[in-house]
Symmetry: C2
Subunit: 112 residues, 2 copies
DNA sequence: CGTATATACCTAAGAAACTTATGTATATAA
DNA sequence: TTATATACATAAGTTTCTTAGGTATATACG
């Protein structure tokens, strides 16, 4: 687990990237996917995730589709085309930021 | 200039790295150095910088040395040995975090 | 001589983006 | 029956910044 400050500011970028790469995901699924992909190093909290999803829906970045699974509710989120552009921009900006930080902190990045 | 959220959480790491690589620097000098090294992409604000420097001094991470240059004051900051360990840890954690983000966002990092 | 810009320090109010805590409810394994 | 997992949600509090303001000297421009 990374210190809290570090992960701050990356939440929207992470959500939009994951949603852009699949047609739909629900909130809890996003938390589990991030946990799995990062080996538990990044664990999104629900208190941060849900309000962010609601805000992005209100902004027209995401649309929702509520489904009943058994007796439980699932709220699937899909990125709109406007959202996909924002996703690309955010990932691109983050990539640029990392290059800048790598230079500033004099780091050697690993190969992709 | 990057969006505000992105740079959040990296201030201490940047300050400690720069101070670790030189015996001493003063506040204004740090802002100018970061601006220069990042081509203006990261510009530290004084409202964030000074309180952070003061806090790190209070925590024994930095020590100060006030010097008169002409009729102006300069407050030089030096990293303590305890601070150097924190600096290494912070840079290392950030490096690890970037590797995680590169994988999560499916990015191709540039060579160092 | 006045004004703008650069240098150099500082604090405080407010905003942003979280964390922590709490709540609801179903399903399943021990 | 108790804990853990699934699945949603909100709200109070905290951290960390931005924005705005304040003080003061030095220098360049017209």
């Amino acid at each position: 687990m990374y210190s809290k400050e570090l992960v701050k500011g990356t939440l929207k970028t992470i959500i939009l990237k994951l949603l852009s790469d699949s047609d739909k995901m629900y909130g809890y699924e996003i938390t589990q996917k991030v946990k799995e992909l990062t080996g538990g190093k990044i664990q999104l909290t629900e208190g941060a995730l849900y309000p962010t999803l609601h805000a992005m829906e209100a902004q027209g970045i995401l649309t929702t589709d509520v489904v009943n699974v058994g007796n439980r509710i699932r709220k699937y989120y899909t990125v709109t085309s406007a959202g996909k552009k924002i996703a690309r921009d955010k990932v691109s900006e983050f990539s640029d930021f990392m290059d800048t930080m790598i230079f500033l902190l004099d780091l050697k990045p690993k190969m992709g």
